[in-house]
């Protein structure tokens, strides 16, 4: 509705009228097909989408049915799971229990004492080592997580 109404045409339309004429906007006065289409879509009581109740009801029915049946999808048996033991189990490992390694990582050119929790060779958590003389258990939060992510990536690359 951005195009400007044709003033000449409006004048011509109002030319022969007498008495009081009311209009809401110049577009309404002009009564072009584009404006009628706009009006048709703008107001719900006239909107064309609402003239087809069957489709909408069918949609709602389907939606409610699928919602009601969504819970049924939980009624399944557990999928089979695999157990993959070691071929040669490393000596220190107790299956199901993590190992902790005291190690260090460089930070700003200084070694930071850390404890790494490892599950079957996979590092899962890095903590500061409270026994380390310089940091006394403190770690740099911003460095800790990226370092864990980098170890995981290295492990995956292999």
């Amino acid at each position: 509705m951005n195009q400007r109404p044709d003033i000449e045409a409006l004048r011509a339309r109002l030319d022969g009228t007498r008495g009081r004429e009311y209009w809401r906007s110049l577009e309404a006065l002009s009564g072009t097909p584009e404006f009628k289409e706009f009006l048709h879509r703008e107001f719900p009581q006239n909107a064309s989408e609402w003239l087809d109740p069957v489709g909408r009801r069918g949609f709602l029915k389907l939606m409610s049915a699928s919602l009601a049946l969504a819970g049924v999808s939980a009624c399944t048996r557990q999928p089979p799971e695999e157990l993959v033991p070691y071929v040669r189990q490393p000596e220190e490992i107790v299956p199901g229990k993590p190992l902790f390694y005291a190690t260090a990582m460089p930070m700003n050119g200084v070694g930071m004492g850390i404890l790494v929790e490892s599950h079957e060779g996979r590092p899962t958590k890095i903590e500061g080592n409270p026994d380390h003389p310089s940091s006394r258990g403190a770690t740099d939060l911003s460095r800790r997580r990226p370092s864990l992510a980098s170890t995981t990536r290295t492990a995956r690359r292999r």
Binding site: R77, P80, E82, L83, V84, P85, V87, G96
Partner: protein
Amino acid sequence: MPQIFRRSANTLSKVSLFGVLSLVGGLILLAMVLGRSAYVTRANEYIEQPIQFSHLHHVTDDGIDCRYCHTSVETSPFAGIPPTKTCMNCHSQLFATEPILEPVRASFRDDKPLHWVRVHDLPDFVYFNHSIHVKKGMGCETCHGRVDQMPLMQQVNTLQMEWCLNCHRNPENYVRPRSEITTMGYRPPVPQSVIGPQLVKEYGINSLTSCSVCHR
């Protein structure tokens, strides 16, 4: 005015009334029975494994203790599945050329692990710790059944929460001395009603039934 309903309508109305009631009741009953059935719990089901390993042979014929292979059952949440090395401790000498053991030798030779299929599978939202159960005098047999009589491993119990609570509410009915943990076919020397409460007291067994004990 003619009668709208015939005399048979009386019967029909009664039948349909009770029919609907019994149908609803029957459906609920069916759901409950099916939920506990072996079909859902996978109990008493033989599962195809890479090697048809016989607990019957290794436990009964050879007299090997459970903990020779399931090493971490006393110290860890997970009882442990033996590494191929454990099999090869004996089978590098015994039946060393049997074709049935070829997957074991291949695993050891090529450094490729064996892929077993889990028989006792708890849902992932349940925390279970083997070590504490063993420590408190819960025998292997109580949950896993007569493993010494199983040519192929199978699940005996439902492993459903109802079944867990059965013991968690009344541990004195199932507890045994720590020395008898791995015994198969255990019979209490004195009646369980006498020795049970004694052991519960001695081992300091708490009847833990709050949700967060297992669903943590």
